[in-house]
């Protein structure tokens, strides 16, 4: 029955640890039910010889769904959370299902969410953006005002600084959605931030910005003015349509290549000042505790990173040996990805993967490694190198430099152990 969906683990929202633990087991059984492609046909396939309902009867007309939704057979392709990570869903995180996606763009409804005070619901006509502080003239803009500035379209990844943060002490979560899913890649339409700042007239003494959100946490971060004047955007569209409420509707800050927490959503105010503010999210959080008890701060740029999304624990190989596609994503806050290497023997030998699709600065890149699987166990790894020459490190190199308590900025090489039955597991190896 080729139409039958492979039974993917944890289709209910809010995956529990127990389900995560059994996920690999369920996936392991997938080979038995899913392996249909390679068998020689001995009896005619009724799906071909018999006329199917969808081939005979009329389907829905136009407007059955004024806003189109994915096929019902894709209902397991959703963001998921790990309930025990946080105290409350209003200040929490969920994860992009990277193993279900391809290409470089993340669909809007699958972009992971991270809120500190829930999703602010704002009617755009009630939204204001204020520029104040060290400017010649403090200004207030409506959304209508903002849409009169010259616009640009740019594709950027957004990665939470805590992505892979659960893996510092060792392999923990079984699936790339959970180990690497705090990242998405979107085309933004927005206004270069410098246009808006220049409109108010930036004083020479202004060295820092404090963007602020309109949500119930009034999120704030200090941003150096060089970055603001370089490539930041004030964006109101994602992938062509309005920002989703959970992504900051009606307007958010885009800080290319830098940690996601700085991309203030529901952006309502930008203050200019001559020193950083040292707000909660850049002191008590988003600072990286080292083994010696000291902590790094202002670790803004996201390091070069990659992960194989298929096969992976949530997406086992179901077709048996032979022609096999290994694919994944790579990105760097320093620019474009120059190269991705793939190893199937745990880093003993590497082959350069094929990057396909647009190669854009500070954007996710898609890579493929097509090979003939002999059916023996694999230790799959990927290693990204960016245009500046940064090479993705191993997890042990990071641990040697930082210890295991830094939570943030874990860009270490991920290993998936693919077994002879095609199931895959998050492991660390010698």
């Amino acid at each position: 029955m080729p139409e039958k969906q492979i039974d993917r683990p944890g289709t209910d929202k809010g995956l529990s640890r127990r389900k995560l633990l059994t996920a690999g087991v369920a996936a392991g059984g997938a080979l038995a039910t899913g392996a249909v492609s390679a068998k020689a046909a001995s009896t005619p396939d009724p799906l071909i010889t018999e006329i199917q309902d969808w081939n005979r009867y009329l389907g829905d007309g136009v407007d059955a769904n004024p806003y189109g939704m994915p096929s019902e057979f894709e209902k397991n392709v959703v963001r998921r959370d790990v309930a025990w990570l946080t105290a409350d869903s209003k200040s929490s995180i969920n994860f992009t299902p990277l193993h279900e996606l391809d290409g470089i763009i993340t669909p809007n409804g699958l972009c992971f969410e991270r809120h500190h005070g829930g999703v602010a619901e704002i009617n755009p006509v009630d939204h204001r953006l204020m520029i104040n502080g060290l400017v010649d003239k403090p200004l207030v803009f409506t959304m209508e005002d903002l849409k009169r500035f010259p616009r640009e379209n740019r594709v950027y990844f957004l990665e939470c600084a805590a992505n892979s943060g659960m893996e510092w002490r060792g392999a923990q979560l079984n699936g790339c959605q959970f180990t690497h899913g705090m990242v998405h890649n979107v085309m933004y339409t927005g206004i270069p931030l410098k246009h808006i700042l220049n409109e108010a007239g930036v004083k020479a003494s202004a060295k820092w910005l404090l963007p602020e959100g309109a949500d119930a946490s009034a999120m704030t971060r200090s941003l150096p003015i060089e970055k603001a004047m370089d490539d930041c955007l004030v964006a109101f569209k994602m992938n062509g349509e309005a920002l989703r409420p959970e992504q900051g509707y009606p307007v958010r800050l885009v800080v290319p290549g830098w940690e996601g927490n700085m991309w203030i959503k529901w952006l309502r105010r930008i203050e200019l000042g001559d020193a950083p503010w040292h707000q909660r999210e850049e002191t008590s959080k988003y600072t990286d505790l080292m083994a010696n008890g000291k902590a790094r701060r202002f670790t803004w740029e996201m390091d070069v990173k990659s992960v194989i999304t298929n096969p992976s624990p949530q997406a086992p190989i179901t077709h048996g040996k032979g022609q096999t596609v290994v694919t994944g994503v790579a990105w760097s806050g320093a620019g474009k990805i120059k190269r991705v290497d793939v190893s199937i023997d745990g880093g003993r030998n590497w082959k350069t993967a094929r990057i396909d699709g647009p190669s854009l600065s500070k954007s996710i890149h898609r890579f493929y490694y097509d090979f003939e699987w002999d059916g023996s166990e694999l230790f799959l790894q990927s290693r990204a190198i960016d245009e500046v020459g940064n090479v993705q490190p191993t997890k042990n190199e990071l641990r040697a430099a930082r210890g295991v308590n830094s939570i943030y900025h874990n860009n270490g090489i991920q290993t998936w152990h693919v077994k002879a039955d095609g199931s895959a597991e998050n492991v660390e190896i010698s």
């Binding site: 025990w84 990570l85 002490r169 079984n174 119930a216 040292h278 295991v404």
Partner: protein, 367 residues
């Protein structure tokens, strides 16, 4: 007089002053409910959160949802016969701790009668059996996330050529921000004290404010409940296997404490504390962290900069570029890079992480 009898006497007193004469508006109640949403869920699939779910709360006996851990006071009231209806809910919501000393509900209360009435109308729409307690006009079930009605442009159309163009900037967009507007939104505070409002509060004044508004999540002594942030203690743990990053052990600046409480706390009721209240709670947090020891200590905009947090000196600027793995820019190895076959040293499934066990939680606690 038994405990529950006393309680009912107290309810009776409040009931006497509670009138339901005002028209109830479930739509307006949905707005009021935003204050409750941090802890309570209602509607399809609503589950218990910090507080119990509120589906069919009307006609429900107090403390009767199985699996929810009620306060002792609420359980006693329930077994004493307290049933939620217009009157009892209104009394409770007016000032929860006044009606029921010992309730876990940290919310200080809905002071406006209109808010209470509207909230009850909203909640009633999720209580199908509330007919007996129905208001004159039974509200229809409301979609919480109802789409906002399309809004008409407010400004009267002016001929394009007659509209004045501002003189500032390059594109001449936006308008001047008024002093009052900047004052309303510009509430940030820097470590040097810039932005501190005039005001003061003592440790002793901060304690009851903290107990009423903060303790439900952060614990009576800042020790944190569940996965909510720990605010006090943890000194000398930063090199431990499980560091505790508190105000006293980790945070570099006191200004961050004042700033964050004022902008975002209490969780779900931001901006509800006065500036003096925030000074008092900040002073109390210094006391819980043993940074001040005198209960009469008063924190104000005048002496704020005299207090430094112990861990200030232990932060340093990003130097990732200097780490060994980043300084070696040699061409990465492609063949025979490591000796021997790869052996599994750790597996995700073996490293068991139990959701409820604090010891077993991952390194990446997110708050």
């Amino acid at each position: 007089m038994s405990k529950s009898l006393k309680l009912f006497a107290a309810i009776g007193l409040i009931l006497a002053s509670t009138s339901l004469a005002q028209a109830q508006d479930a739509d307006a109640g949905a707005k009021v409910f935003k204050k409750c949403k941090a802890c309570h869920a209602v509607g399809d699939g609503a589950r218990n959160r910090v507080g119990p779910h509120l589906n069919s709360v009307f006609g429900r006996k107090a403390a009767s949802i199985e699996g929810f851990k009620y306060s002792k006071a609420m359980s006693v009231a329930g077994s004493g016969g307290l049933v939620w209806n217009d009157e009892t809910l209104a009394a409770f919501l007016t000032k929860p701790r006044k009606m029921m000393k010992g309730t876990k509900m940290a919310f200080s209360g809905l002071k406006k009668e209109k808010d209470r009435a509207n909230l009850l109308a909203f909640l009633k729409s999720f209580s199908p059996d509330a007919a007996s307690a129905a208001a004159p006009e039974t509200p229809k079930k409301q979609e919480i996330a109802a789409a906002p009605a399309p809004t008409e442009p407010k400004a009267k159309p002016v001929a394009a050529k007659d509209a004045p163009i501002p003189e500032h900037g390059v594109f001449h967009l936006g308008r001047a921000a008024l002093v009052e507007e900047v004052k309303a939104w510009d509430i940030d505070i820097r470590p040097d004290g810039q932005g501190l409002p005039t005001g003061r509060g003592t440790v002793a004044q901060g304690e009851p404010i903290y107990t009423e508004n903060c303790a439900v999540c952060h614990g009576d002594f800042g020790e944190g409940t569940g996965r909510w942030p720990i605010l006090a203690g943890g000194q000398n743990t930063l090199t431990d296997e499980r560091p505790e990053k508190t105000i006293g052990s980790y945070w570099p600046y006191l200004s961050t404490v004042y700033d964050y409480i004022r902008r975002a706390m209490p969780f779900g009721d931001a901006r509800s504390l006065s500036d003096d209240d925030v000074y008092a709670v900040t002073a109390y947090l210094l006391f819980l962290n043993d940074i001040v020891t005198d209960e009469e200590f008063e924190l104000s905009n005048e002496n704020f900069n005299n207090t430094r947090l112990p861990n200030e000196a232990n932060f340093f600027a990003d130097n990732r570029k200097e780490e060994p793995q980043n300084t070696a820019r040699s061409e990465p190895c492609m063949t025979d890079c490591k000796p021997g076959k790869a052996e599994v040293t750790m597996r995700a499934r073996v490293l068991d992480v139990t959701p409820d066990s604090k010891e077993g939680e991952g390194a990446g606690a997110i708050e």
